[in-house]
Symmetry: C2
Subunit: 326 residues, 2 copies
């Protein structure tokens, strides 16, 4: 097929290279070979590449705002991201073109980050970071994670791996998702409409769901207040999933014991934002799920698995349901 890869700028860690494609194609020669690939990282290259492309590949930040009106042969857009929020609404997508995400490319890195965040919160590292800023030596002795309860909101690739991380330390796990079918990493599954029922027992709460109109402000001030005193929060989804001001307020008041947030509102977080100095709040700059060694290879493998499914007349597992947004 004619495939156009629109890359981020050349100095970006996540540029897809011809070598990466060749390696990926060699792993699945039945669907990887025989394609005609173009690469670009500028507007002219995009216009030329998209003119006859059947598949377009690129990250959300690079695809956002581009017109696909002239892409008469286009069949598939493969977005190098799990969350589609930057590309919503989908009015830019020509009718009949399939939209794929790279769900599955973030797992091992997310599992390690979630493990780290849970252990950091349990060992009160956010408090020690706050104390270190004022050169204060005060110990807080804590018990281990085993037996404590971790609720994960969103049980896709990210949330499933967060659940696996929690379970690897012997935590009790509760999964929250739209359709709560049983999941191997969770002791219990709850519908998102019933989230309020599990908040009082959620000592640790991990947000790992997509940002959609119905999940915006999901963790509102009221819901944070329903968490037990001393609860700990991890956000690896999107900043607007929670009320950031309420998070800061409740960390300051001590109702919440600590938080590790890898996503903020907005991003980057402005230098004068109160969150930088909020006690017991650890901020990382949206790095929780992307390993430069594996992100592109794993993403391209996922694309080829989808092309294999398409060739075999099956549904493509990564196709985004445009009505749902994931």
């Amino acid at each position: 097929m004619r495939i156009h890869i629109q890359n981020p700028p050349p100095d970006d860690l996540f540029v897809i290279t011809p070598q990466q494609w060749a390696d990926c194609a060699a792993r699945r020669p039945d669907v990887g070979q025989g394609h005609d690939i173009s690469y670009a990282d500028d507007d002219a290259g995009f216009a030329k590449g998209i003119a006859d492309a059947e598949i377009l590949i690129g990250p959300p930040g690079v695809l956002k705002g581009r017109s696909l009106a002239g892409a008469k042969a286009l069949k598939i857009v493969f977005v190098m991201a799990a969350g589609m929020d930057k590309l919503m609404p989908f009015d830019w997508l020509p009718p009949g073109v399939a939209l794929l995400n790279n769900r599955g490319a973030h797992g091992p890195k997310m599992r390690e980050f979630a493990l780290m965040a849970l252990a950091m919160l349990n060992n009160r590292m956010p408090a020690y970071a706050t104390q270190q800023r004022r050169a204060e030596w005060t110990g807080h002795f804590t018990t281990i994670l085993r037996g404590k309860t971790c609720t994960v909101v969103g049980v896709g690739d990210l949330g499933g791996n967060a659940g696996a991380a929690a379970r690897s330390q012997g935590m009790k796990t509760i999964g929250v998702r739209a359709r709560p079918a049983p999941h191997p990493e969770f002791d219990r599954m709850v519908a998102i409409s019933d989230i309020d029922s599990v908040l009082p027992e959620s000592e640790f709460l991990v947000l790992a769901c997509p940002l959609l109109p119905e999940t915006r402000n999901l963790l509102s001030r009221e819901r944070m207040q329903k968490l037990p005193r001393g609860a700990k929060i991890v956000n690896v989804g999107r900043g607007p999933l929670l009320d950031q001001d309420a998070l800061c307020d409740l960390l300051e008041s001590g109702h919440l014991d600590g938080a590790v947030i890898d996503v903020t509102t907005p991003e980057p977080l402005p230098p004068d934002h109160r969150a930088w100095n909020t006690p017991n709040l650890v901020i990382t700059p949206h790095v929780s799920a992307d390993s430069p060694a594996t992100y592109n290879p794993d993403s391209l493998d996922i694309l080829l698995e989808n092309l294999r499914a398409r060739r075999d007349g099956k549904a493509m597992p990564n196709q985004v349901d445009l009505a749902k947004g994931y």
Copy 2:
């Protein structure tokens, strides 16, 4: 037997209670029942208790500097700590009295702390903490721990659990100890006299050995310089195991990528010490291995296991070799 328990002050988290003793005795009634126990946390109580005690129990800070000259019946001193450095030299110990440590009481907590520290260093959390102090949003994308090399110096209860933590993430593990017999958590064991041979491949180095005359300044400036550029250090042993000024210098120069130190020189670290503000250095106040829920029960269980060995005419597994210091 007559047992005297000399406790820390009443507000301390680690006071041994009669209920803890009773629970412990019930778990091993063959060696736990029938003892005559006294408790004290002051000088008068110590003098009274020690007069006829056969076993003395207490933490190093509470036992340090006390005379045992009048303890004519004393057979065993059980120290509530793994490291004996605070109590060395052992000239205060009457001849013929066995000195026991509580090696084994720190394992699960240490495993979680080591896992956290390794993941934090791998995910560049020390750099993010440094950036957060200046409200800076800059991402550093890293690969996962799998396949990277972790060297652990000291392979007792602490170091063995640190090795288990590293291995649980698929790291290659090298153990360094005085007598390098094979160990289940380490791919390779090296004698401490050969430590220089493994430094160049040690991307992560964990110090978990006792502080002895021969381990003081073990990780000297010269040895830190032999680590690969970008190496990461964890110290859960004792502060003087490493050259703290060299650590700060080499973090500032960028030769070292980050460090998590739970022990410092001195402790507490004075408010004006440069380490508090050294970039990419995370400091915790000697909390890595003590869980308040399990520390006393596990320690008392260890004591009873030793009493059982003694009753059966076996060597007590926790007896400290006074010549070695551990």
